[in-house]
Subunit: 341 residues, 4 copies
Amino acid sequence: MKRVGIVGGTGYTGIELLRMLASHRGVEVSCLTSRSEAGKSVASLYPWLSYYGSLHFEEHSIDALSACDLVFYATPNKIAMNEASSFLDRNVRVIDLAADFRFSERSLWESVYGGPHGAPQLTKEAVYGLPEKYRTEIAGARLVGNPGCYPTATALALMPLVEARVLSSSHVIVDGKSGASGAGRSARADLILAEASDNFHAYTAGGHRHAPEMAHQISKMGQEVSVTFVPHLLPTIRGIEVTAYVSTSLSGSEARDLFLSRYQDEPMVSVVSDGEHPETRWVRGSNQCMIGVYQQQPGHLIISSVIDNLVKGAAGQAIQNMNLMLGLNEFEALPMCALSP
Amino acid sequence: MKRVGIVGGTGYTGIELLRMLASHRGVEVSCLTSRSEAGKSVASLYPWLSYYGSLHFEEHSIDALSACDLVFYATPNKIAMNEASSFLDRNVRVIDLAADFRFSERSLWESVYGGPHGAPQLTKEAVYGLPEKYRTEIAGARLVGNPGCYPTATALALMPLVEARVLSSSHVIVDGKSGASGAGRSARADLILAEASDNFHAYTAGGHRHAPEMAHQISKMGQEVSVTFVPHLLPTIRGIEVTAYVSTSLSGSEARDLFLSRYQDEPMVSVVSDGEHPETRWVRGSNQCMIGVYQQQPGHLIISSVIDNLVKGAAGQAIQNMNLMLGLNEFEALPMCALSP
Amino acid sequence: MKRVGIVGGTGYTGIELLRMLASHRGVEVSCLTSRSEAGKSVASLYPWLSYYGSLHFEEHSIDALSACDLVFYATPNKIAMNEASSFLDRNVRVIDLAADFRFSERSLWESVYGGPHGAPQLTKEAVYGLPEKYRTEIAGARLVGNPGCYPTATALALMPLVEARVLSSSHVIVDGKSGASGAGRSARADLILAEASDNFHAYTAGGHRHAPEMAHQISKMGQEVSVTFVPHLLPTIRGIEVTAYVSTSLSGSEARDLFLSRYQDEPMVSVVSDGEHPETRWVRGSNQCMIGVYQQQPGHLIISSVIDNLVKGAAGQAIQNMNLMLGLNEFEALPMCALSP
Amino acid sequence: MKRVGIVGGTGYTGIELLRMLASHRGVEVSCLTSRSEAGKSVASLYPWLSYYGSLHFEEHSIDALSACDLVFYATPNKIAMNEASSFLDRNVRVIDLAADFRFSERSLWESVYGGPHGAPQLTKEAVYGLPEKYRTEIAGARLVGNPGCYPTATALALMPLVEARVLSSSHVIVDGKSGASGAGRSARADLILAEASDNFHAYTAGGHRHAPEMAHQISKMGQEVSVTFVPHLLPTIRGIEVTAYVSTSLSGSEARDLFLSRYQDEPMVSVVSDGEHPETRWVRGSNQCMIGVYQQQPGHLIISSVIDNLVKGAAGQAIQNMNLMLGLNEFEALPMCALSP
C-alpha cells in the first residue's frame, strides 16, 4: 500500500482527490494538511466523504508529509514551488495541481504569473502531466506539473493535428466554457446561484492565463501555434467544453480518421460517433475526454472537446499521473462511467 | 461470477443499474432486454457507459434471461407481475423496481393501482426490499419488491419512531420533494428545461400512489399510521428530501438518540450532526440516506431525510437487495462517496 | 409626480424597487442612498437598469431624503427603527422592508430579534403592509412594516380560514421553500452555484424568525394559531412556495369556495383551477399570489401558495403599499404578467 | 387603438408577444388563432397571462384575422409564405417570426429550407426586420421577415465592422450559445431537465440554418463575409450569447469607438464598459442587445453579444417592427429593464 499526502485538501480539487482515492486499491491517504481547517475531520467538513472516518486535517508540515510516497499540492499557485525541492530531496514525489510547473521555461512562467519563480531549477525537470502525450516521462518523473483544465481539453483537441503537422495556419481560436466549480469554492457574490444561474457570459476576453499554457504546450507537440482563447462561465457545476477552430487542408473525414487513429489505444479519450456532439454530462465525474470533429467549409475544421474540469481537468488526471509515477495501474480508481443523468 | 439480467434497461433506473454494476466484482450483466431498443449497444445509446463495450439490448425473452441468477425488472408497473413466476419456477430470483410487489395485500395493491393483480399468490411471498428492516428476509427471498423512492426516504425517517411506538398521534404529514429524474426519461413538455428549471410546485396534492405504500409499510413496522403526503417537483436532476411532521412526547434530543441508536450499525443510513441539515447533494450518486431530527415545540417532531432517488431510492437499493439475495457482500458496488460538488 | 427615496438600494429588494418604479407613471425615484456604493451610478452597478441614466447613489442623509414624499428602507433589520421618526416628524412616509415594524408588540419583536427596539412607541402605530387585509389602514398610515416573504405567502394561504374561524386545531404546519435570492446578494460559499445548484435542503428547522411573525399576524386575523415552520432552500433564483397543513371540518370543495369568495375582488391573489397546482414560474417577476386548495382525508386540508419572494414577498408589495399611502392607483407599476418561460 | 392578430400563439414566441403587448398603450390583441388550442382561453393555458381575461384561441381563419391592422405569424417555417399575400391584398400588414421572408433571394431560401417557396414574388418585397439597420424600410413595409435569434445577435455584433469595411478577412467565426427556450416548447426527451440541466454541448456543428442567414444579411451591410457558425445548447431558460472572432487591422480601442459611435443613438443596443463582459441575465426579458469588444493580439478582434432570444431575438423585435409599421413609438411596450436577479 503506497501512502500519499494532500496539501490543502479543502478546495474542490482536494475533495475530488479524496472522493476518487477512496476506491483506490493500492494507495491510502495518510496525511492531509490545511492551514485553515487543521484539527477538523474530513467527515465533519464533508459529510459525503464519511468513508474517511477519523482522518483529520493536520497543520501543514513537510516532515509529516515526508512519510508519504507522493504528495499532491491542491493549493493556489506559488505554494508548491517553494516546497517541492524539500520533498524531492527526501525521495518523495510531487504533483502540483496548480500552475507552478506547467511551463518548462521559467521566463515564460514569470511573464504569465508575475514575480520570480521559487524553484527555477525545477521548471525544466518537471514533466507536464498529460499522460496521453508524456506517459513515459511521467512514469519516470519526480515532479509533475498537472495541466490546467482548459489546456487539457484543448491540448487533447489539437494534439492529433499538430503532431501530424496539418495545420495550415498557426492561428487557432479556442472558445471555452466552464462550469462554476472551475472558479473554486470561493465566497464570491458573482458566483452565487441568484447571479450565476440561468446566466452566461464571457470572462477575461482580453486574455486568460491558460492561453499561454495552451500555446506553449501545444506548440511543443509538433507545430507552432498562437492561440486566441475566450473562456465563458457556464451555469453548471462541472464540465468544460472547448470548441476549437483551425485551418487545415484535411477534409472532415480525414481529420476524423486521424483522431480515431491517434486515440484508439487511449482508454481516457474517445471520439464520438459521426454526427454526435460530446456533452459535458457524458463525462460528469469521470476521467474521460470526449471529442467530436466537424467541417462546414473546406479549409476549416471544428473540434469540440469535453472533460470534467475537476476530474480529467484536475484531480483525476493527477491520480492518473500518480498511478504512473508509483508504478500502479494507470487507470486504477478513475471512474469510467459518468454520473448521468 | 454471478450473472444478472435487466429487463427494460433503457430508463434511468436501468442506466443506474448499469453504472453501478460496472464496478461490481462478483456479478456481470449478461442479458439486457428492451422492446424499443433491441439490437442497439449500450455504448451507442449511452456513450458514458462505453465500459460495456459490445453489450447489446436484446428482444425481451424469458428464456434468454433464465440463464441468469437474478433478473431486475426496471420496467413500468404491471410488467413484472406477469412474468415473475416463470423465473421463480426456474430458480431465477427476481427484483421488481416497479410497484407490483410492494404490498403484501393484493386488495390494497388493486385499490391503488387498479385492475386485478397478475400474480396475487406472489404478493404475500414477495419481500419488501428495505434492507435496514428486512435484511434476513431479503437474503432468503426469491422475489423482492423494491421500495418506491419517496417511501424509502420516508420509511427510514419514521422507522425508529414507529418501532419504538412513540408516536402520540397516528396522523403523519410528509412533505416530499423530488428531482426531475423521478419522472423518468419521458418526453413531456412540462419537464423540459425551459418549463421545469427555475421553477417549483406541488403535484398530486389530492393524493399520490406512494402514500398508501408509506402507510402500509410503516404501519407494519410497529405503529399504525395514516399519511398525508404532498410531493413537489424540484428543479434538480436527482435527489429526494422529505420533511416529516409527527406528534410525540419525546424531546428533540431523546428522538435524536433514538435515531442514532437505531442506525449505528447501518452503513447506508446516517444521522447528521446536531444543527446540520442533510442536503441532497451529499447523497448525489451514492446509496446513503441522511437524516436530521429537529424540534420547535414540545409534542411535535420534524425529521428531514434525503436520498438519491435513483440510487437508494431505486437502483442502488436494488443492488443492495441483490447482494443479499445472492449471498454477496451487501455493500459491494454501492458508491459510498457522493459526487459533490 | 410624487418623489420617493430608497435607503440601501443595492440589495435585491432595492434593485427590484428600481426595476418596477421605472414604469411607474406617478412616482419618480429622486434619492438613493447607500453607505457602500455612494458616488456610483445605478447604471454602472446594474447595467440592466441603465434606464436610470445618471441617477447616483448618495451618502446616506436623512435631510436629503426628507425632500421625498415617501422613503423605502431596503436595509437589514434594525436600521429603519432608528431613523423612522425623523421622517415622520417631517411628514415623510416610511415603508420598512425589513422586520423592524412587523410586530405590533414590542416585547414580541425583542424576543425574536433581540435587544431593545429603537422606536418602541412606533411599533403600535405601524401598519402591517398586507393590503389584502389592511388596505384602509395602509392608506392612512405614516409608517408601514412590509411583511416578510414567507409570512406573505403563508398569511394569504391561511387568511380565509382563520377569518372564517374554521380551523379545528390551532396547530398549523408550514413547509416553506424559497429561491436563493431570499438569502440576498451576499458572498456566501454555501450559496455559490457549485454548492447550491442541483441541491436542496431544509434550514433552521429548529426555528426560523418568520414563524413568530406568521403566528402573530395570522392569529390577529381571527383565530389563534401556533405555527411549526420549516423553510428549505430551492435551487432557483426566485420564488416561494409554502405548503400549509391544517385541520378543519370543511370539505375540500367548501374550502375552495371559501378561498374563491374571499379573493374574488383581489387582483393580486388568485385561486388556481381545480386540480391545478400553482407554480413559482407563474409569478416570476409579477406581484401575484396563486393558491391551490386540496384535501386527501376528511378533517385535514392542504394549501399551496406561491409568490415571487422579491415582488409580492418584498418590493412589489412595498410598491402596492406606497400606492395606497400616496393615494395612487394601488396596482400601478406592478407587473401583472409573469416572465415565463 | 390598433388591432393585431397572432397566428399560432401557443409557442414561446406567441406567449412573449402576449406578455409584452399586455402593456402596450396603442395596440390590442383582438384575434388569436391556433389549430391545436382553438376554444381554450389564454388564461386557462397560461395562468400567468390571466390579464387577457376571456380572450380565446380561435380556429385559424384568414377572414377573422383580416379585421386586424397587422398579423404576427408565430408559427413554424413555411406557414406564413402561403397566407401572407391574402393579408397584403386586404391592406393588413404581416410580420413573420419564422424564416419564410428572411432572404431576399428565393433561391438561397430554397437551398437552405428546401422545396419551392410559396410566395417567391414576396421575398424581394419583404423587409428584413432589423430596425437598427432598416428602420425606414420597415416603417414603410407591408411585410417583414423577423430575423432569427442567432442572426440578430450576430448581425448587431458585426454591423459596425462591415459597414465600415474594416474586416481584413472575409472569414468570420461565430460561436453561439442559446438557452433551451430557443428549441421551443416541444416535448423532446433531450430537452427535459434531467438531461439538459447541468449540461452543455454543441449541436449541428456541421452546419446550421442560421449560418446562411447571417452570411446573407451581414454581407448586404457592406462587406462580403463567409461564416463558420457553431451553436451550443445552454442549460438556461433564455439568453443567447455569440462570441465572434474576426480579422481586422483596427486596434481594440479603435474598434470599441466604432461600436460606441454606431450605436450611440440606438436605445436597444449598448456597448458595455471597457473590461466588462455582457451577461445574458442583463437582458433577461428585455429587448436590449449588449455588446463587448476585446482584443488579444493585433489583427484579431473578439466581439461578445447578448440578447434575450425570445425578446430581441423574436417577439420583442417583432413588436419593435410592428410599432414602426403602424407609426407608433418604436419602443412602446418593450421592457427596458431586465429581470435580474
